[in-house]
């Protein structure tokens, strides 16, 4: 029977993986990547495991849709993450591929305000 040791990554309700755990680095720059290709890479490399297929974030990773990081900041975090996220080196994801993923993240739609979603507005 399988025994799982979730407690290892469950730390007091805080997400332990995530690009968003590093502060914003510089300003958002010009996006030169291919968002469509970025989506493919985002799914293929299982970024969605922790960040969700829409980059919405969750227990194990921060929200990265419409990331506030610039490409340099994102790349730096992916290469040298400070939280629980494993480092994705260039052997796994090239800078070019990260540029495409970045373009995909920037292309994702922003969330509506909770007041504009009736179910959430009722919870307020």
């Amino acid at each position: 029977m399988k025994k799982l040791f979730y407690a290892m990554v469950i730390v007091a309700g805080l997400p332990v993986w995530g690009f968003g755990q590093v502060g914003q680095v510089g300003q958002v720059g010009q996006v030169s990547g291919n968002a469509e290709e970025g989506k493919r890479l985002f799914m293929k490399n299982n970024c969605y495991y922790c960040h969700g297929t829409s980059g919405q974030g969750g227990r194990d990773g921060a929200r990265i849709a419409q990331t506030a990081l610039n490409l340099q900041g994102l790349t730096r975090y992916v290469r040298q993450p400070a939280g629980g996220m494993p480092a994705f080196t260039e052997k796994i994801l090239s800078d070019r591929e990260l540029t495409d993923i970045y373009a995909y993240l920037k292309s994702l739609p922003a969330a509506k305000a909770p007041k504009d979603i009736p179910l959430l507005n009722e919870i307020r």
Binding site: F5, G55, L120, R124
Partner: protein, 655 residues
Amino acid sequence: MPSSKKGSLNRRRFLKGAAAGAAALVGPAVGPGVPLAETAPAAQAAQARAVTPLPGPGLVAAETSPPAPRVDVYTTDRPGSDFMLDVLKSLGFEYAAANPGSTFRALHESIINYGGNKAPELLTCCHEESSAAMAHGYAKIEGKPMMIMAHGTVGLQHASMAIYNAYADRVPVYIVLGNIADGMWRRSDVEWTHAVQDPAAMVRDYTKWDDSPISLRQFAESAVRAYKIATTPPMGPVVITADGILQEEPVSEEDRRRLHVPKLSQTTPPAGDAAAVADIAKILVAAENPLIVTGRSARTPKGLQLLVELAELLQAPVMDRRQRMNFPTRHPLYGSGSLATADVVLALEVPDFWNVTHEQTPLNRMGMEIRPLTKQGAKLITISSMDLIMKSNYQDFGQYNEADIAVAGDAEATLPSLIEACKRLITPERKRVFEQRGARLTEAAKRIHEQDLQQAAWGWDSSPITTARMSAELWNIIKNEDWSLVSDVVFQSWWPTRLWNFTKHYQFIGGHGAYGIGYGAPAAVGAALANRKYGRLTVNIQSDGDLNYAPSVLWTAVHHRIPLLSVMHNNRAYHQERMFVADMAARAQRDVSRVDIGNAITNPNIDYATMAKAYGMFSVGPIENPTDLGPALKRAIDVVKRGEPALVDVVSQPR
């Protein structure tokens, strides 16, 4: 009760007579020493079946020939199992969950006939793991144990993981094992392979107490003692063996008069030492930023009230580990504190408290990178009954705590004296400080709630459906009901406790205990059963991987008409595991795209709605479009309100 008849035979006398009679009817022997090739074809077949015999010529002849003038028949008016049931009934069990097993067949029969299948009522389970996990969930709602029955060997082996979960979760489960201790009474290889010298041995490391009585008198005493031990904090599963011969052999009227059902004298929960409680009160009242951490703190509704009283008295925030319903989730003191700023941390029944106060890098298991999350000089105080029972082999005790004060005692039982001690020390000046602190925390709680709502909005229209959307849709449909969530929230990014308004003790029961997967579905059915008589609407957010361990519990829910809404969190994977394997792939700088292998539950996708239908349950799904979810939940909840279980399969985001 029927009276004893003259002429009843005990089993040994009966077997002796029956063997002689059968030998006379069978005719020429087919057995050892007679080569198989030299026997007739029918005899060859009989010999081949000797291990697990089909009806042989002797039995066929006996059942089709004119009856002999006088045949001894084996009847028993007073089997020992009737007395065992008298004892078990005295303990107030409502239910006995079991997958049927021959080693407790007499007790089974006593329950349904002698006991009228009431208190306890038999629950038909298709797996012993379901029996044990149902009892686990039931106890967390009802506050008392359910009885389960299992073979002492193969049944207990099936049940063992669920028993470990209950042990790690400090939940009482009352386990009755069948076993034929005396080898001379075993009739076949089945009974030999189902017999064991020390039945409870295999679970002794994770049960609180066990006994294998060799007389009915000892059974009575041990059965009552077991209940008492199971229900005294720290609670836990107990095992009592009902020997097969004791169950099946008759008890004479004379012997019966000597038997006695002992009175259950419950032990009061152990409260913390008065001097230590006084010291803790001084520290808490003097603290600038105290923080209360709750684990399995509130055993009962009273525990929840006491926690609110303590927190409000001190205006201290509560960090909830979500292992019980400890504190109202919309209370301004809920979740608004911080370990980083706390100068005193009071942990109440918190398993692995060290892990709360420290951060580790999950990947660096060798040479752990460890960082304390508390500020230097912060005082750590623990009140926990876990210090009262600790075993060596299974390591659920967690990392050693360097607490400043560690009180061995039940937190709920200790809270009244702690509250009174604090009240005596609070001066008007301290009260003003507390009020200012409370105002700051109230503002912080509002900000956190607003952030949660903003976070929930991301991916709102996504497919697969986000766990936030699923939780919000579910809340919308149950918020005006008397609801009870009986599943964990950790796999849904805690969205229910972030969005719903939990106020009552039965509205949340925590999770597995030992993270042994397969707990969720049966524990939900057991909890729903406990909720049924109160008319509560029971909701289970059901992980797909978990359901696949023993999905037949869906049939048990239908068969026993247990109203329960199960909403599948169907992320089509053993998701925690694939994240771990992804960690390993990234660490090894290899292909992370392959880690679905061995972890994904796809190709084919499992159709849970069809699975539920196969067990006779109303179901809807798979739901992939978020706009379809609300109407699907509405249809299912209408069924549940009519007293039936229902399942909605939701294809969901990983977390």
